[in-house]
């Protein structure tokens, strides 16, 4: 019985072995980078001859690293807010609306998610060259919003579909105006969708590199662009330190995500 773990015989151990090896394959490189970032070898020898915090000191001493991280954060924060707001309004239209081509419109909104990013990057680059938005904060925000919006529409739309509109109707009959009912009843009820939308939007912008490579200028670049540019020259351990900080952020966001989902469930 292939879907009963206890009755698989020796297949059970084969499956277990493949799973654990795959998990190790996925996990070890991440741990490896974290370990290297504390290693003393300039040439990334593993296991490291000694341990040091030098690469972190280098990272925090270099204003270009900090500046690019700050730029990334600002862009990601603005993109998150806009993406959730626009996603919310759009989802209401898509989920509640009854109009021709609704499904086509939904597909159009989700297309940026599946198209190769490089096509969007090159297209926007050309467009922004003409209207002078390359190398500007606004240019970054617009480009990242194109990529983040599908995630918002997807997660908020899903939450809204799972929300029984009768509950909002009940609030309206209780005397709340349609807007008041949405704010006081519907939004709290779909908050998990808003939260996922925010996290996905933030990460989309924060981690995005392809579009950012085209949008950036010598004076304005995001952290991923800075990592990219550095990697194209050499494999300095400072990148290991930067990567470890990024991994740490991922772990924190994941934990936050799990906590909030748990909190919302109970």
């Amino acid at each position: 019985m292939l879907l009963d773990f206890q009755r698989l015989g020796w297949w059970k151990y084969a499956l277990l072995a493949i799973s654990l090896l795959t998990a190790a394959f996925l996990l070890l490189p991440i741990l490896f980078i974290a370990a290297l970032s504390f290693g003393s070898s300039q040439w990334l020898i593993f296991p490291p001859p000694g341990w040091t915090l030098k690469w972190y000191a280098d990272f925090f001493a270099d204003p270009r690293w900090l500046q690019s991280a700050w730029t990334s954060f600002q862009i990601a924060a603005i993109v998150t807010v806009l993406s959730v707001l626009l996603g919310l309004v759009t989802s209401f239209g898509l989920v509640r609306g009854k109009f021709l081509f609704r499904e086509t419109l939904r597909a159009l909104f989700l297309t940026p998610m599946i198209l190769p990013v490089v096509v969007l990057a090159v297209g926007l680059y050309a467009f922004f060259l003409q209207i002078g938005l390359n190398g500007t904060m606004l240019g970054f925000v617009i480009a990242h919003l194109v990529l983040a919006l599908p995630f918002s529409i997807l997660s908020i739309g899903k939450a809204l579909e799972g929300f029984d509109k009768s509950i909002e109707d009940a609030a309206v009959l209780c005397g709340a105006s349609p807007l008041e009912a949405k704010i006081r009843v519907t939004l709290p009820a779909i908050s998990h969708g808003l939260f996922s939308a925010a996290i996905f939007s933030f990460l989309t912008s924060w981690d995005e590199v392809v579009v950012a490579i085209f949008m950036s200028s010598p004076t304005l670049q995001t952290l991923p662009v800075k990592v990219w540019a550095t990697l194209r020259q050499d494999l300095t351990p400072v990148v290991a330190a930067a990567s470890t900080l990024l991994i740490l952020l991922t772990v924190i966001l994941m934990a936050l995500f799990a906590l909030v989902r748990k909190g919302l469930k109970s």
Binding site: D169, A171, A176
Partner: protein
């Protein structure tokens, strides 16, 4: 005569070419419990939603206390409603749910708290104030929904199949609660259901919906003893139909002949009859008498095809000589059943007044 509390005047609702409700006219007294009974898609819920303001009628008007409701948006109609699905606000506690309509109306806190307590007492859920909806059973959730809908003393309460998601035993328990609350609050209730037993148990009057129109309005006994259409006869109580021929009709009554040529006189008639036209004779299983054929046959001749024990009564299925199926319901231990077997020949008799002819 004073003007009725609620008047529904010629309401019609069409979605493009599809007509959901056609020319619904209805008058409701203050404090009345009126039920819309009908199968799904018969227009009963649509009518309720028009009253709530979630749907706009294509034509017609609704007057509450003499004022038209149609130009008033839902949230200003001051109508209470309990929905088919559980609609408690999931992020608010039971107490906060009941307080919601009061807070929206910006009532002072002391008044809100007092009202919440009163409402919890009304639906017998004292002490549940801090529970979350997710921690409560379906029956409890609907009682909270009822409390929330009544918290602002609406003159009119709409209930859209509020018990359909509950199991039978719980449903009966809450039906009793609703009756008690109706008597206690004297609120006017419009109740939608497809369950005839529920309608009969709860209502002062019942409006039977069929295909977007109201077939008949009346009390339960009126609908049962004097159905105006075949649909109402089928929907309220059990019924069997025998094909027959109208011989003559006058004064709302008909003389008919059954397949065996026997003529029956003075049977209440509904519909337009023409002499010699085909019709259906409606019989109630519990109003039929059954006897073994001995000598002269005084009724409809039939053969027993099955006998079923149903607790307090016995259900005898018979097939008439014309091939029609007729059921007879007799109390347990009735003398006519003693020794009755499948295949026995029986005669069925009834009072002319308990049968109806539909054309």
């Amino acid at each position: 005569m004073t003007e009725p509390f609620l008047q529904i005047q010629g309401i019609r609702k069409a979605y493009g070419p599809v007509v959901a409700v056609e020319n619904v006219d209805l008058q409701v007294r203050r404090g009345e419990f009126l039920t819309f009974l009908g199968p799904s898609g018969s227009g009963k819920s649509t009518t309720l939603y028009i009253l709530a303001g979630f749907e706009d009628p294509t034509a017609g008007n609704i007057l509450l206390d003499g004022r038209s409701l149609l130009s008033i948006p839902s949230h200003k109609r001051n109508i209470g409603m309990v929905f088919q699905r559980y609609t408690l606000f999931p992020h608010l506690s039971v107490g906060e749910n009941i307080a919601f309509p009061l807070k929206v109306r910006r009532l002072p806190k002391a008044e809100v708290d007092a009202k919440v307590k009163e409402m919890l007492r009304l639906v017998r859920l004292e002490g549940f104030e801090d529970r979350r909806p997710a921690q409560m059973s379906g029956g409890q959730q609907q009682r909270v929904a009822l409390a929330r809908a009544l918290a602002y003393d609406p003159p009119l309460l709409l209930m859209d199949e509020p018990l359909s998601a509950l199991d039978k035993k719980l449903r009966e328990e809450i039906q009793y609660e609703i009756r008690r609350i109706h008597q206690q609050t004297e609120v006017t209730i419009l109740y939608v259901t497809h369950d005839q037993e529920e309608a009969l148990r709860l209502s002062d009057r019942i409006a039977v919906f069929s295909k977007g129109i109201i077939d008949q309005i009346g009390t339960g006994p009126e609908l049962y003893s004097n159905p105006q259409t075949r649909f109402v006869a089928e929907f309220i109580g059990d019924s069997d139909f025998l094909p027959c021929k109208v011989l003559s009709a006058s004064d709302g009554h008909a003389t008919i002949s059954l397949g065996d040529g026997r003529a029956l006189d003075r049977i209440p008639l509904h519909g337009f009859a023409s002499a010699g036209g085909k019709a259906a004779l409606m019989l109630r299983p519990e109003r039929l008498r059954l006897a073994r054929i001995s000598g002269e046959n005084a009724g409809i001749a039939a053969t027993v095809s099955d006998i079923t024990f149903l607790g307090n009564n016995i259900h005898v299925s018979t097939t008439t000589d014309d091939g029609a199926l007729v059921s007879v319901r007799l109390p347990f231990g009735h003398e006519a059943i003693a020794g009755l077997n499948r295949g026995d020949r029986v005669q069925l008799t009834f009072d002319a007044g308990s049968a109806h002819v539909f054309c």
